[in-house]
Amino acid sequence: MGTTPTVSLAIRVIPCLDVDAGRVVKGVNFTGLRDAGDPVELASRYDAEGADEIVFLDITASSGDRQTMLDVVRRTADCVFIPLTVGGGVRSPDDFDRLLRAGADKVSLNTAAIADPTLLRQAAERFGSQCVVLSIDARRCPIGVSSESGFEVTTHGGRRSTGVDAITWAIEGTKRGAGEILLNSMDADGTKAGFDLELIEKIRSVVQVPLIASGGAGSLTDFAQAVDAGADAVLAASVFHFGQFTVSQVKEALTESGLPVR
């Protein structure tokens, strides 16, 4: 068979949908959709466009609406046959269990893992590392906060400083069982000025699990730069939702840069 190492794995392009009480929030600018606020219909649309994976981020404030999210996951898994990651409000291994049974393939942890890092190990032992995604909302340390790398972890959607070094946390999180890192730059998020390449490089140099880069995508050339910095997958939300460009256009741009896509 030979053992010539080759890299043929496709760079994954992942649209992220923020879901509140079962409805997609942020602007959605698709034409021809029956219901632009329905996460299931949007996920199907992205699937048809060539998305390699879908991420749902449950931003529901009330725990009563968690049931609604399970229903969204179920209905999506019924008709979309690509991997589905769900995050937001996950606090226990039982939350993992409910989401996986509903049809999620991976579950992402953010604030809850900072509050209780043992949760990563508990989930990995029960369900396998392959479904445990550590979501890190990182930013450059503001005045008054310091960390060795200059990047800190935030929680609650970037509103709260933790003072935890983002690079140290990535290392610890993977040691504790995370099988993938979803790295969101809170500085780049919403700027459309490109990904935070320095942050991606720093995290890539210390972890051996797949790395999804998120935050800052604004032009088609941004994505290949994130990959060159070390990302295995690229995630974006508003540029897709507002119809600025499509998943297939991102893939064409990656191909032009000599990167493999599906």
């Binding site: 053992t3 080759t6 794995l9 690509i82 049974r101 396998g128 392959q130 051996q208 699990v209 599906r262």
Partner: protein, 211 residues
């Protein structure tokens, strides 16, 4: 073709809903159950599996899946293993330097892949031989993988000389590994056809029509 009754063996492993829906999508009638008789008598049995080799083996043994699979194969009745559900069909698995017995349907050891980034997660190409049944209608497609372990060498021992050698499809992540393997009624994939979009559905359709 009459509608095929398929059982997905429910021994507590991961997302079974997607496999159920994907098989229904290509025309099968699917039950997710650990019922011994139903699993034994179905037209085909799907053995799923995610997470650790040892944990999946424990789950399978608890529902007497080893007996079910053995009896089915003795009668030439189809079984499809997916991901760790494929890995446990081999002789052994090594995790954290500990060797665990598998179901031994094929010789070979499941061990950690030698690659800079693990898990091997995402859409990758495979090299299917021309006599493959399940890849008959797909070529050049990518399939969705998520695994850190695999079978990197396949040596058929003497006891296999009377059997036809399996049809092996290879993939590469750092090293070559078995991406799919077919021995008559026993078929298995390291990737997740139920998560591999249109190509995965096409592959499941080919499998269903081969039953």
């Amino acid at each position: 073709m009459a509608t095929q009754n398929i059982v997905i063996l429910d021994y507590g492993s991961g997302n079974l809903r997607s496999a159920q829906r994907a098989l229904e999508k290509v025309g099968a009638r699917v039950q997710v159950t650990a019922d011994f008789d139903k699993a034994l008598n179905a037209d085909a049995l799907v053995v799923p599996g995610v997470g650790a080799f040892a944990a999946c083996m424990r789950g399978i043994l608890e529902v007497r899946g080893d007996v079910i699979i053995d009896r089915r194969l003795t009668d030439g009745r189809p079984v499809l293993g997916i991901c760790v559900g494929m890995q446990v069909l081999f002789a052994n698995g090594v995790e954290h330097a500990t060797m665990v017995d598998g179901l031994g349907q094929w010789p070979g050891v499941v061990e950690q892949l030698d690659a800079p980034i693990l898990p091997h997660m995402g859409w990758d190409t495979v090299r299917a031989p021309e006599d493959s049944t399940i890849f008959a209608e797909v070529s050049g497609e990518r399939f969705y993988f998520v695994h850190s372990y695999g079978v990197t060498t396949l040596e058929l021992g003497e006891h296999d000389l009377n059997r036809r050698p399996p049809v092996v499809t290879w993939g590469t992540h750092g090293t070559d590994f078995v991406a799919a393997i077919e021995s008559g009624p026993l078929v298995a994939t390291q990737f997740h056809p139920e998560k591999s979009g249109a190509a995965g559905l096409e592959l499941l359709n080919s499998w269903l029509h081969s039953l």
